[in-house]
Amino acid sequence: MTTKTKQLNRIDLIFKNENDCKEILQKSFDRSHEEIINEMVNSGLKGRGGAGFPTGLKWKLTAEETEKKKYVICNADEGEPGTFKDREILTRVPHKVLAGMAMCAKIIGAKEGYIYLRGEYKFLVPQLRDELKKFHKIMDELNLDFVVDIFLGSGAYICGEESALFESMEGKRGEPRNKPPYPTQCGYLNKPTVINNVETLAHSYTIMKYGAKKFRELGVKDSWGSKVFSVSGDTPIPGIYELELGMSVQDFVDDFGDGDTKAVQVGGASGFLVPRKRFAKSHIGYQGKLTGVSLPTGGSMMIFNSSRSMYNVLNNYLDFFEEESCGQCTPCRVGCQQLLKGIKAVKRGEKPAAYLDKLLKLTDTMRLTAKCGLGQSVANSFSSIVENFREEMIY
């Protein structure tokens, strides 16, 4: 079976030095809202925060809401282990992110926007405020009534989940809400809200400037365009790289590995571990018709070489989830604790190896019954690590 996949290709779009946001916005404002929404839909751009929801559709649904007050929120909470690209984008090309927000605001009819910035990135605030000054001047010149402010987080991974983020902005505990209703209808202060990842908004600028057709020259079906990856772990060249979507993990490892790569964690602690034997068959992109597994990702690529214990890796992830679970629902709160306790007991020989299968069943239950993406996705790393490195869990 031949399906389209891509060689590893380094791209220079997001970080390209471009200072024409005002002109690009002006040109876009001259077009009808429908035209812009179509451009966004046709680009096939999917959310770069991890979940991969089609951005054009999100904007369209929010535009259709009749509520007077609406919001645009840039999700800069970036708490997924192994992810650091949003900070780089906000540092080097904040004007592109803001241009994306302005475009969205114009289309949906929002007058207020926020950047929800994780507390760990507080040092960025002064430079972002300078950028906002310039941005608001452009808004004045373009006659768009749109103001953006910064809202700082305070050290809670779960606040990156969109509904927890709204709760946090509303001055409450960052506990995810039930969905539906979705943010497009009922977001911040229960008003229709577009919430997009930093990178998604920067790509929107690119699409406005170059058009959907150009955007789709990169990537593969269902995963168009490029993506910014955060590369860390056992690699001689850790850092931030923009790559074309659709590459195989093998190609990625050939370029970024240290020659001794045992496994790659794609998508952070809530993503999947890909063992060496699956490198060639696994591709980076969103759900689609690629051969083998297609792995959606917020862009975190953590590389492990043969010196690393996968037990330690899983232990570290579970420790993370156990601490960051908001504790609101039982499957996740108790589940994370039991998983952590369970793998330790197996390692120490207090429980038989077969206990791992019980724990795998528990993660299945969590996937089905947890209230939000955190509890649901613990199963991803747990099962992909335990199933592929079972002996390391036991001995």
């Binding site: 282990p81 760990e120 809670a156 409450k172 960052g174 056992d234 602690a269 420790d319 993370f320």
Partner: protein
């Protein structure tokens, strides 16, 4: 204490009394005092008309909104996987050794607190830590001594 009351009052005047102002107010108090005392929480509740239980409940959710006293400089060492792989434990040992306290504790002179935290987003420059809002990356045990000495000197000058 009067000072504290004035400070909270000014914050509430600046940010307003709606619930959306709560986090910014709590953050400003923590920035000044490094933690939220019971008095501060009660004062915020009084000035904003938000029940004290809600103020406390919100604050206690966030790992950066401490509700126990901390040092003037709060050190948060990243313990997530890449930092753990790249020598986080040696950094922690160097901190403990230099400050003569254990993880989670505050020095008797109330200058430093050592904590661990989850992914700081500097995995490509691991190991990393925060001292209040300042980021330090690609740490070595020697660097830790230099960094802390500089903070000590800064505190001595004040």
């Amino acid at each position: 204490m009067n000072n504290q009351a004035e400070f909270v009052k000014d914050l509430v005047t600046e940010h307003g009394t709606n619930r959306e102002s709560l986090l910014p107010i709590l953050q400003a108090v923590v920035e000044k005092d490094r933690f939220l005392s019971e008095n501060a929480i009660l004062k915020i509740a009084e000035e904003t008309n938000i029940p004290a239980a809600d103020v406390y409940g919100t604050a206690s959710f966030y790992s950066f909104l401490d509700i126990v006293p901390r040092g003037k400089y709060v050190i948060r060492v990243c313990k997530t996987i890449t930092c753990a792989m790249k020598g986080k434990n040696q950094i922690l040992l160097a901190l403990e050794d230099f400050l003569k306290i254990k993880l989670g504790d505050t020095t008797p002179d109330k200058l430093f607190t050592i904590l661990e935290t989850n992914c700081l987003g500097w995995c490509h420059k691991a190991p990393a830590m925060l001292v209040n809002d300042d980021v330090y990356t690609e740490l070595t045990p020697n660097m830790v001594v230099d960094i802390l000495s500089a903070y000590k000197a800064e505190a001595d000058k004040e």
